[in-house]
């Protein structure tokens, strides 16, 4: 669906990236300055790489060797910018309909559909100057979608929003991902967004793609922790909701390695969800603890003891023979308990960081 291999020099910064994506949501993840936005700009045609080749949906839009450079207006990319970039002199409706000026007559008019999908009906007569951050972003998304793009690009669309708005728009993005059949390229430096949205993750650092793969594959790798920046080591597990306890607001989810109890999970029974377990939230016990508040006690086997860093050490645990978890504990505890690979222990998980995951990709 998207094939990219480019090189570019921008001041002192050198970008050299290659990756391919077969569809779904591809998240470009990495610290600020790692070149993510430049890549998206190159896909859109707003940046002209020094060298390389970009193909969208089979069409080559850029090829330095054959002097091909399709101008931006003809690339049919929908671009949602970080700051929205709504046209201040037009109202919301006009903003949304802007692309229609340039679409061939008789193109599908999905106006009402998109307006309902993004909840924009009440905003139509307003002006961008009168919108909140979250509203602006939703309009920006709608506007990009109404240009009938064959690929949707989003550059950190949630970065300028507060937590509340971020949650609001994130929900819409998940909805979008499920509704649309077009590939999405999403730039982010926020782990939460990666976890909730990504089908493919491209980990970027210093202008290069360090790793390409699924969320679990890329985010879990300890050797990439430096590049992933603020990503806290841990695991991301696919699970399914088995039961909901209305009285205590607890949900039971099952996964390959067993079951977990989760608090305040807003999901239906049977729904697939993604569960993220931070290493620092996992404790290790040699025996099954008694009279303890922790709700999740899973039998596990130690597969690896990591290199100590200061007073801290990461222990990799195999749960139920299928899933790997990581536990971050003090070096002293590891020595006191004489932890070693192969030892049978219990993984204690108290707080569970959990995010919804929609339909299977």
């Amino acid at each position: 669906m998207l094939n990219l291999d480019i090189e570019h020099r921008l001041g002192g910064f050198r970008l050299k990236t290659a990756f391919a994506s077969a569809g779904g949501v591809t998240v470009l993840f990495g610290r600020s300055g790692s070149g993510k936005t430049s890549i998206v700009n190159a896909i859109a045609g707003l940046l002209r790489p020094d060298l390389g080749r970009i193909a969208i949906g089979g069409e080559v839009v850029f090829d330095s060797a054959r002097a091909i450079d399709v101008p931006t207006p003809r690339r049919r990319v929908g671009y949602v910018f970080q700051e929205g970039r709504l046209f201040p002199h037009l109202d919301v409706r006009q903003n949304l309909r802007y692309a229609r000026l340039f679409l061939p007559a008789g193109s599908d008019d999905r106006f009402d559909h998109i307006v309902e999908l993004l909840g924009l009906r009440d905003l139509l007569r307003r002006r961008p100057g009168n919108l909140s951050g979250g509203e602006k972003q939703r309009v920006a998304i709608g506007r990009a979608l109404l240009s009938n793009p064959r690929i949707l690009l989003l550059d950190e669309p949630l970065a300028s929003l507060d937590a509340h708005r971020r949650a609001e728009v994130l929900r819409y993005l998940e909805l979008l991902r499920d509704e649309l059949r077009i590939p999405i390229v999403y730039v982010s430096h926020a782990v939460e967004e990666v976890v909730r949205l990504a089908d493919t993750v491209v980990l970027m650092a210093a202008g290069a793609a360090l790793a390409v793969g699924s969320v679990e594959q890329v985010m879990g790798r300890p050797d990439l922790r430096a590049a992933a920046g603020t990503f806290e080591g841990g695991a991301v597990i696919e699970a399914r909701v088995a039961a909901q306890d209305m009285e205590y607001d607890l949900a039971t989810v099952t996964f390959a390695g067993g079951t977990l109890t989760v608090t305040d999970l807003d999901a239906l029974v049977g729904e697939p969800v993604r569960v993220r377990i931070r290493a620092r939230d996992v404790s290790v016990a040699l025996t099954r603890p008694d009279r303890i508040s922790v709700q999740n006690v899973l039998p596990a086997t130690i597969t690896q003891i990591g290199a100590p860093r200061g007073g801290v050490i990461d222990v990799t645990l195999d749960v139920g023979g299928a899933t790997l978890l990581r536990a971050r504990i003090t070096r002293r505890a590891a020595e006191q308990l004489r932890l070693a690979p192969g030892l049978a222990v219990f993984a204690l998980i108290k707080a569970v960081s959990l995010d919804r995951h929609g339909a299977a990709s």
Partner: protein, 236 residues
Amino acid sequence: MALTAEDWEILLLSLKVAAWSVVLSLPFAVAVAYLLARRDFPGKTLFDAVVHLPLVLPPVVVGFFLLLALGRNGPVGSLLHDWFGVVIAFRWTGAALAAGIMGFPLMVRAIRLSFESVDRKLEAAASTLGAGRLAVFATITLPLALPGVITGALLSFARGLGEFGATITFVSNIPGETRTLPLAIYTYTQTPAGDAAAIRLSLIAVLLSLAALFVSEWLVRRATRRMLGQDAESRH
């Protein structure tokens, strides 16, 4: 203060000359302002300086150059005359040309500033939505630069109303044809017992200029307010 028939003729001529001068020079000013705001090219500084010449040159000099070039014996003037039988020297069209040239730098400055303040990112966004360069200019850049265009046009209009040196040198002082307000006032100052008329016309000139400036201010404020969405609905 009643206006005589002659006063009206002078006033209408002045308005006509100034209005035409703006209408005809506006497209050029927009183009030049865009060029200066957005493009780099060899000789840009020189070009910019030439555009600003009428602002700093004595108006009489500008009028003189116009006469040299467009008078019947001048290179362009003789061409116009021999081929088309057209003479603009000594016609109100010449007065409009003189006013247009004198007001041109003011127009360009105001419009250029406006173009420079248009967010290029919005233009990039428009292009991702399918707008080609011309469409971006027409639907995004120009509308957003409208306050500057209005200001420039009205400034040039006011300047054109007051244009004297270039006008009298190029098209002379022909009543009904080129005797605009300033020229009429000048004539009256040389006429015995013309002081009353001179003062009357001077007051009209002041009122007209003030009106032009107020209208410009008002239009700009309106345009800016719309843009910030502070008219129609308010936030809930």
